[in-house]
Amino acid sequence: MTDHKNHLPSTAKPSSIKTRFAIKFLQAMKKLNNNNKNKNTMSEKHKRYLAIRAASHASMASAVGPRRAWSRAVLRKIPHHQKQLHYYSLMNKQRIRRRRNIRRNRIFLITRGNPNNRENYDHEEDEENEEEEDLRELVPGGKEMDFCRLLNETAHYIKCLRAQVQVMTNILDHSSPSNFLYK
């Protein structure tokens, strides 16, 4: 197949997060479908579900790029064999290089911006710690950020999640109506 990336229709928004995500996700889905054994067993379905979920997270993170801490955290989590499954192979080398640098920065960030260094602050800060911890668990890569950064990342993460949901519902709507034809 030709590289669909270059075949954007004229009405598509050029390189918004949504389009980038949509492209990557659809490519991943294609590959998954091509690899599918078509067994329709429960385990297969479950695998497919998990694979698609992983694909959605990964393609969202790659659409965002390594600019954001949460996207970097997601990209780090993906095992290497999965990356190829999700259309990372072309971008792998660049990303590995970038991620090496980012890992170096990350260590620096950990020592500098560690939330454990907040001993000097008042007791008022302790009151919001529970929700903070919850938020840190939710947002990928949130455990190593200070609170301000965490809020920034949360805002961006919410935006991207919303975009993800919209694109996936779109895809679903477009893929399923074709089935209605067979009523």
Partner: protein, 465 residues
């Protein structure tokens, strides 16, 4: 001549007080700082510390009169009444005499009193300094006041302190036009050393400086004015700092620019409060900014105020979005894999449909709070649908309502399916068995004919486990 009188007056004073003082030796001792201080320390400490203000006034007038007249005969008044000017650094400060207020009314008297208090201080080098002031000071009265007030000899017990502070206040007002409500006694010239917060420490620091100061003065009489001037300014700053530090105002501290020599003083003492509070303030402002941004992002957050509640809302929203993604991916996985994902068509229609679908996630979000009972009802509905249709997929719309509930249920029961997935995708949380079965019943099975087969499969899975 005046000098002699002054010295004699000084010599005359201690004689009746302490037997250990010789006139001759005292003359010399006036010049020598160390001996003077030592002598007068002892003499002063021996004196009873309490004195009435009226007696002070009397002393002042007497002495000044005598000094002007050139006679020392009236030094009789001194022994009983010169005590307030004793170097009370060894004694407890005497209680502030009430008639002090009357003293401050007369500026001329204040001037004289300042000079005299300088005279009566612990270190008699102060006296020499005061004398020098008196010498050169006919025309430059304010300058005198300035010098006097900043002189180190004004290192008195608290009683005299108040007077001096009153005097200083006047001089400060007229000299520096400062607006501050000056604190009582903290107008001490600082030589760049750290000025401690408590008044006791200030007293001790004053005393320290008073010892060192006269040396400077004796060396550089010409530069005294400028130095005092500087010190005045620094006094202001330090005073301000003192006030602020004493009152511990962390919020509205006016960060006046200190003179360059004293930046380190400010930084050192203010570090505990200034930079910390400033940094905290900056941090809080940052956080509130971002919370506002998040408020705009998260729907339904306008009514909520306060960090904790906002954070709760944000957490709920993020969780719901994540569950939506999971559910959609589940649905996508159930879609017939034979479908061709035609990129161009999808993108085209996606762009067209974007606006339409923006409402969907927001619909789904508030539905998260719906009860699980709905879920089971809809499951049965869908089972019926499946039985009725041989269609491979369910009609999409009714499921939209269920998505939220399913999402919620899935979200709640997610953790335990690791045993099923450990070989495949270890990093993702698993499903519980119940959820798997419910999903199956929801119609993820492609064919209703295989429904039983699927159920057998699940039971087999159970056994395998």
């Amino acid at each position: 001549m005046d000098k002699d009188y002054f010295m004699n007056g000084g010599g005359g004073i201690p004689i009746p007080w302490s037997g250990g003082m010789n006139c001759t030796s005292s003359n010399q001792s006036f010049i020598d700082p160390n001996s003077v201080t030592s002598h007068f320390d002892s003499s002063f400490s021996s004196m009873p510390s309490s004195a009435a203000a009226a007696s002070e006034a009397f002393i002042l007038r007497e002495l000044i009169g005598k000094l002007g007249g050139g006679g020392i005969g009236s030094s009789i008044a001194f022994p009983a009444t010169a005590t307030p000017f004793s170097g009370a650094h060894n004694t407890t400060p005497p209680p502030p005499p009430p008639p002090l207020h009357s003293l401050s009314g007369d500026p001329g008297f204040a001037e004289r009193a300042a000079k005299f208090s300088c005279f009566g201080s612990r270190s008699f080098n102060g006296r020499t300094a005061a004398f020098e002031m008196m010498n050169g000071s006919a025309a430059a009265a304010p300058a005198d006041m300035h010098r006097v007030s900043s002189s180190p000899c004004l290192n008195p017990p608290a009683a005299a302190e108040k007077k001096i502070s009153l005097i200083r206040r006047q001089t400060q007002v007229e000299y520096n036009n400062s607006n501050e409500d000056s604190s009582v006694s903290e107008q001490i010239p600082s030589t760049g050393e750290t000025v401690s917060k408590t008044s006791n420490e200030l007293n001790s620091s004053r005393k320290r400086k008073s010892v060192s100061r006269p040396k400077d003065r004796s060396i550089n009489p010409s530069n005294k004015r400028t130095k005092d001037h500087q010190n005045k300014d620094d006094d202001d700053e330090d005073e301000e700092e003192d006030e602020n530090s004493k009152q511990k105002t962390t919020d509205q501290k006016p960060p006046a620019e200190p003179p360059k020599d004293y930046i380190h003083v400010r930084a050192r003492r203010g570090q505990a409060t200034d930079s910390h509070s400033l940094a905290e303030r900056v941090r809080r402002e940052k956080i509130s900014e971002r919370m506002k941004l998040l408020q705009d992002l998260v729907p339904g957050c306008n009514k909520v105020t306060g960090k904790a509640l906002m954070l709760d809302e944000i957490i709920n929203y993020v969780q719901s979005l994540q569950r939506q993604v999971e559910f959609l991916s589940m649905k996508l996985s159930s879609v017939n894999p034979g479908l061709d994902f035609n990129m161009e068509n999808l993108l085209l229609s996606k762009d067209n449909m974007v606006q339409q679908n923006t409402s969907v996630p927001q619909q789904m979000y508030p539905l998260d709070s719906s009860s699980p009972a709905l879920f089971h009802q809809n499951v049965q509905q869908l089972q019926n649908n499946n039985n009725n249709n041989n269609n491979s997929t369910i009609c999409v719309e009714p499921i939209h309502i269920d998505h939220a509930t399913l999402c919620r249920n899935l979200g709640i029961q997610l953790p335990c399916l690791d045993r099923f997935t450990h070989d495949i995708l270890p990093q993702f949380p698993g499903f519980s068995e119940d959820d798997l079965q419910s999903i199956v019943q929801m119609g993820f099975a492609q064919n209703p004919a295989n429904f039983s087969a699927v159920q057998n499969q699940t039971s087999n899975m159970k056994v395998e486990r």
